[in-house]
C-alpha cells in the first residue's frame, strides 16, 4: 500500500544550519520569521511546525560560542502565537523534563491544545547536564542513569494530570448552576521522581492528550519511543541506517500492545531544490560550505579533540596530537560529550583514506544536504525513502530563515500530491488527524466511573 508522507518544518535556533551570510537570511527572533515559515508549511499541507529547545547558550573554550546561530524564543510561547495565524498546522515543541515540573508542562500543553483547536505536540527530552542546570534554581540534579526513568515518570504524571479532568467534567450549565462536576482535576501521584497531589487547573484540549514525540537513538530511547511515543525524531537520514532504525523501533511496538501505525518515524532532513540536478548539487555544495565555515570546522574539531586548535589551518591536514578525552571545550552540546577518542580515530582514518582537509572532513561527517536535485528528483527521492520504509516522513530544518522551504513547498509538494502520497488538502482539524493517530484512550475519570453520579 502506498504510504502517505508526513512533513514537518523546523526553524533552527542554534548550531550552524542557518546560512546567515546569505542576504536573504532574515531574523531568527522576529515574529514575522516564525509566521512566514509556519504559513509556508501550512500552504504545503505539512503536518506540523516544530521548535526545539536549548536552555543555555553554549560555551566554547570558556567563552560564549560566537559561531552559534543562537537567540531563540520560548518555544511554547511562540507556538501559541503561530497557532493564532494558522488554522490546521500542528505546533510541536521540545520541552525538557528535567528543568520543568509535570504540573506546569501539562497545563501549558493543554493550553496550547485548546488555543490551537487540537494541534499541539510535545517532544519529551531529558537533560542531566549541570551546565544548563546553572540557569535553574534546582541546578543539574539528575544523574545520567536516571534520565529515562525521570522522563517516563514525568510523561506518565503529565498524562495523569490531563486525565484528571474527564470530558464531561466541564459542564458550564447555567440552568443547573453547575460549572464543573465534583472532583474535576483531582489527582495524586506518588512516585520516585514526583510526589504530588491536588487539583489540576486545565481541562483537556480537543486532542485529549497532545501528540507525544520522542527523539534519541540509544537503546533506552528506542524503548521509550516504543512504549510511549507517537512520533519519533531521528538523525538517520541515510536510507540504509534509517531503514535499520525504522525496522528496529517499529519492531519493538508489539511488546507494548501497539501496532506500527501507532508510531510515526520522522528523521531530520534538509532539502535543496533547483531547476536542474546539476544546479541543485552546486547550490547544495555552496550551502554546506557556508554552514561549515573555516572557523566552524576548527571549532568542531576542537570539540572532539578537547583542546585549542586555533593554530591549525582549516584547509590543512588533521592535527598529529591526540585528543584530551577528559577536557570538554564545547559546553551545552551532548554530541561531543563522550566517546571522543573513538570519534577522533574514526575521523583520522576517514581523512587519511580520502585525503581530506580539516574543513572537508567536518563537511563529510556533519555537513551535506539530505535531498538535492530538481523538483522531480527530490520528489522521487523523498517518496522512495518513505515507501521503502526508511521513514514515515521528515522534519525539514531550513538553511534560510524564513524562506528556506519556499521552493520545496512551491515546486516539490505539488509533485508529491500528484503522486498521491501527500494530502492535497487537510482532511481533519487536529494534529492527530493529520498524523493518523488515535485519540488516547482516556484512562482517568472519563472511563465510566465518576465518584458521584451527576
Amino acid at each position: 500500500m502506498t504510504k502517505q508522507i508526513h512533513l514537518a518544518a523546523q526553524l533552527p535556533g542554534i548550531h550552524n544550519v542557518t546560512v546567515w551570510p546569505d542576504p536573504r537570511s532574515g531574523s531568527q527572533i522576529a515574529v514575522d520569521s516564525f509566521v512566514h515559515l509556519a504559513r509556508t508549511a501550512e500552504r504545503g499541507r505539512f503536518d506540523f511546525f516544530f521548535l526545539a529547545e536549548g536552555l543555555r547558550l553554549r560555551e566554547h573554550k570558556g567563552r560564549l560560542y560566537e559561531l552559534d546561530v543562537a537567540g531563540r524564543p520560548d518555544n511554547l510561547t511562540m507556538l501559541s502565537t503561530v497557532a493564532a495565524v494558522t488554522t490546521h498546522l500542528g505546533v510541536a515543541a521540545t520541552v525538557n523534563a528535567t528543568f520543568n515540573e509535570p504540573y506546569e508542562v501539562a497545563r501549558r500543553l493543554a493550553t496550547l491544545d485548546h488555543l490551537s483547536g487540537g494541534r499541539a505536540a510535545w517532544n519529551v527530552v531529558t537533560s542531566f547536564d549541570s551546565f544548563t542546570g546553572e540557569n535553574f534554581r534546582r541546578g543539574g540534579f539528575l544523574a545520567e542513569a536516571d534520565r529515562y526513568t525521570r522522563a517516563a515518570e514525568f510523561l506518565a504524571t503529565t498524562r495523569e494530570l490531563w486525565d484528571s479532568w474527564a470530558g464531561p467534567d466541564l459542564r458550564a450549565d447555567p440552568v443547573s448552576g453547575q460549572f464543573v462536576r465534583p472532583g474535576a482535576g483531582e489527582f495524586a501521584h506518588r512516585g520516585t521522581h514526583f510526589d504530588i497531589s491536588g487539583r489540576f487547573t486545565t481541562p483537556p484540549g480537543p486532542q485529549g492528550h497532545p501528540v507525544i514525540i520522542q527523539s534519541g537513538e540509544s537503546d533506552a530511547g528506542r524503548e521509550f519511543a516504543a512504549s510511549d511515543a507517537e512520533v519519533v525524531f531521528s538523525k538517520y537520514n541515510r536510507l540504509d541506517e534509517a531503514r535499520a532504525f525504522y525496522r528496529d523501533v517499529k519492531g519493538r511496538l508489539a511488546r507494548y500492545g501497539r501496532s506500527p501505525a501507532d508510531l510515526r518515524i520522522m528523521p531530520t532532513a534538509t532539502v535543496v531544490v533547483a531547476d536542474t540536478d546539476e544546479e541543485a548539487v552546486a547550490y547544495a555544495d555552496e550551502i554546506t560550505r557556508a554552514q561549515v565555515s573555516p572557523q566552524t570546522a576548527i571549532a568542531h574539531l576542537e570539540a572532539v579533540w578537547g583542546r585549542d586548535l586555533s593554530a591549525y589551518d582549516p584547509d590543512g591536514p588533521l592535527p598529529e596530537i591526540d585528543p584530551e578525552p577528559d577536557s570538554l571545550v564545547l559546553k551545552g552540546h551532548s554530541v561531543f560529550r563522550t566517546g571522543r577518542a573513538e570519534t577522533a580515530r574514526r575521523w583520522r582514518a576517514l581523512a587519511g583514506e580520502r585525503g581530506l582537509s580539516i574543513r572537508e572532513l567536518v563537511i563529510a561527517v556533519h555537513g551535506g544536504q539530505t535531498f538535492v536535485g530538481s523538483p522531480h528528483t527530490v520528489a522521487d527521492a523523498v517518496d522512495h525513502f518513505v515507501q521503502t520504509d526508511g521513514a514515515d516522513g521528515f522534519v525539514f530544518a531550513t538553511h534560510l530563515t524564513p524562506g528556506g522551504l519556499d521552493d520545496f513547498v512551491d515546486r516539490v509538494v505539488p509533485l508529491l500530491q500528484e503522486k498521491g502520497v501527500h494530502r492535497p488538502d487537510y482532511t481533519g482539524t487536529t494534529l492527530r488527524d493529520h498524523l493518523g493517530l488515535r485519540r488516547p484512550t482516556d484512562t482517568g475519570r472519563s472511563s465510566g466511573n465518576t465518584r458521584e453520579a451527576s
Binding site: 527572533i29 520543568n100 493550553t111 535553574f136 504530588i196 487539583r199
Partner: protein, 403 residues
C-alpha cells in the same frame, strides 16, 4: 500626574470577577477555554483604546477562599496558561498591551524571563508581566518541591497580616523580578553581529552572564532570547500592604492598589511614596505608575447595575465582596469617581469587569466616550511600545558600556 492622560486597563478573568458572572444571560461559559472567546474580549478592549489587559492566572484552581481550595462546583473552575494565552492574542491585536499574571513562587525565574521576553517579541513591544506569589499553601503540593506558609482564616482578614506571613515569598519574588530584568538585559541590543569575516554570528562581549546569587536561588545566564523590543517589558504588581508596596517600589513599573475612596487613595499613595523612599528608588530615572483597582458593574439605566449585581449575588448564595471597591452605577458616575480619585495622584485604573462581555463593553462603549467628552482619555493609539504609552523610558541596558 493628575493632569496627564488617564490610563485605563482591564483585568480579564473567566466570565468576569463576580463568581456567578458565568450565569449572566449574555455569558458564554462553555467557551471559556477557547481562543475565540478571549480574542473577542481583547479585541473589544482594543476597540476602546485601552492601555492594556491583564490576564489572571494561578497554579491551582479558583476558590472562594483566597488561602485554601474549596469544593464548590457552582463557580468557574479552571484556567488557561496566561502567558500562552497572551501570546496567542498578540498577532490578533495591534496596539493593546498584554500583561499575563505569572506565579513567581513555583515557576523557574529563567522560564518567567524567557516567556515574557518571547511575548514581547511576539507582540512587538506590548508585553508585560504581573508577578504573583502563591498565597495558597495547597498549590505547593502541585509541585512537591517545597512548602509555603498556610494562612489562617484570621490572617486573610488583614492584608498586613497576610503580607507578614508571606514576607519570605515577597523577598523571593523581588529576586525573581531582578533576575528577569537582568536576563532581559543579558543580550545587548547589538549582540548579533553576523560578521562574515570572522564567521561570528554573535559578539560574546555583548552577551552577559548575570551571575545572580540570592538567598533563594542562583541563575547564571545569559538568556537564550535576545533582548526584547521594550528592553524590559512592563512589570505591574498588585499590592495591599506595606510589604507588597515595597516589592512594587523595588521592581515594578506599575503598582496596582485598592483604595475604597478618595481619602483612602491619598493614604495609600502616601504609603507607596514612603516605600519608594525606603528602597531608594529614583523616580526621575525609573518612574512608578500608580493605578487603582475597581470592580465595576456598569449600566446607565439608574439602579440597573446594582440589581444585576444583586441577582448574581442571589445565584451565588452570597454577597460578593472584593479587595477592591465594587462600583455599581452609570458611566457618568464612574467617570466622576475616576477623575476625583485621580486628582489624589493616580496615573490610571485597572478595572475589573463584574461580568463579561457586559461590563467590558460598557467600559469601552460608555465609559471611554464619557471620559473623552471630558478630555480625559485618548482618541487614538499613538505609536510605540506599551512602555511608551505609559510614559516610561526605554530602560538603559545595565551591561552596556556607555558610549
Amino acid at each position: 500626574m493628575s493632569d496627564g492622560p488617564l490610563h485605563l486597563a482591564v483585568a480579564l478573568d473567566g466570565a468576569g470577577w463576580h463568581p456567578a458572572a458565568w450565569r449572566s444571560h449574555d455569558a458564554v461559559p462553555g467557551a471559556l477555554f477557547t481562543a475565540a472567546y478571549w480574542t473577542r474580549l481583547v479585541t473589544e478592549a482594543e476597540r476602546g483604546l485601552l492601555d492594556f489587559v491583564t490576564l489572571e492566572d494561578a497554579l491551582g484552581p479558583q476558590s472562594a477562599a483566597p488561602h485554601r481550595p474549596d469544593d464548590r462546583t457552582d463557580q468557574v473552575r479552571g484556567r488557561l496558561d496566561a502567558v500562552l494565552l497572551a501570546a496567542h492574542l498578540a498577532p490578533l491585536t495591534t496596539h493593546i498591551g498584554l500583561v499575563p499574571t505569572v506565579n513567581v513562587t513555583h515557576t523557574e525565574p529563567f522560564h518567567v524571563a524567557v516567556g515574557i521576553a518571547t511575548l514581547d517579541h511576539a507582540s512587538r513591544g506590548r508585553a508585560g508581566l504581573r508577578p504573583q506569589i502563591a498565597p495558597r499553601a495547597a498549590d505547593a503540593g502541585h509541585f512537591g518541591r517545597r512548602t509555603t506558609p498556610q494562612l489562617t482564616d484570621d490572617d486573610v482578614r488583614d492584608p498586613e497580616l497576610i503580607a507578614e506571613r508571606l514576607r519570605p515569598l515577597f523577598a523571593e519574588a523581588t529576586d525573581v523580578v531582578e533576575v528577569a530584568r537582568r536576563l532581559w538585559d543579558s543580550w545587548e541590543d547589538d549582540a548579533e553581529i553576523r560578521d562574515t569575516a570572522t564567521g561570528r554570528f554573535l559578539d560574546g562581549a555583548k552577551l552577559h552572564h548575570i551571575d545572580f546569587e540570592g538567598a533563594y536561588f542562583s541563575v547564571k545566564g545569559p538568556s537564550i532570547t535576545p533582548r526584547p523590543p521594550q528592553g524590559q517589558p512592563l512589570v505591574a504588581s498588585l499590592a495591599h500592604a506595606s510589604t507588597p508596596y515595597e516589592f512594587a517600589a523595588r521592581g515594578s513599573d506599575v503598582v496596582l492598589v485598592t483604595p475604597r475612596d478618595r481619602a483612602g487613595t491619598e493614604a495609600i499613595l502616601a504609603q507607596v511614596d514612603e516605600a519608594v523612599d525606603r528602597v531608594g528608588r529614583d523616580e526621575r530615572a525609573r518612574p512608578l505608575r500608580r493605578f487603582a483597582e475597581l470592580v465595576v458593574f456598569l449600566d446607565d439605566e439608574p439602579g440597573a447595575a446594582i440589581r444585576r449585581k444583586e441577582r448574581l449575588d442571589d445565584l451565588d448564595g452570597a454577597t460578593y465582596t472584593s479587595d477592591a471597591l465594587i462600583f455599581t452605577g452609570g458611566s457618568g458616575e464612574l467617570a466622576d469617581l475616576l477623575l476625583d480619585w485621580r486628582a489624589a495622584g493616580l496615573d490610571g485604573f485597572r478595572l475589573r469587569p463584574g461580568a463579561v462581555p457586559h461590563d467590558l463593553t460598557a467600559i469601552t462603549r460608555r465609559l471611554v466616550p464619557e471620559l473623552r467628552r471630558r478630555n480625559a482619555f485618548r482618541t487614538a493609539y499613538g505609536t510605540g511600545t506599551l512602555r511608551t504609552r505609559l510614559g516610561l523610558p526605554h530602560p538603559r541596558n545595565r551591561y552596556a558600556r556607555p558610549c
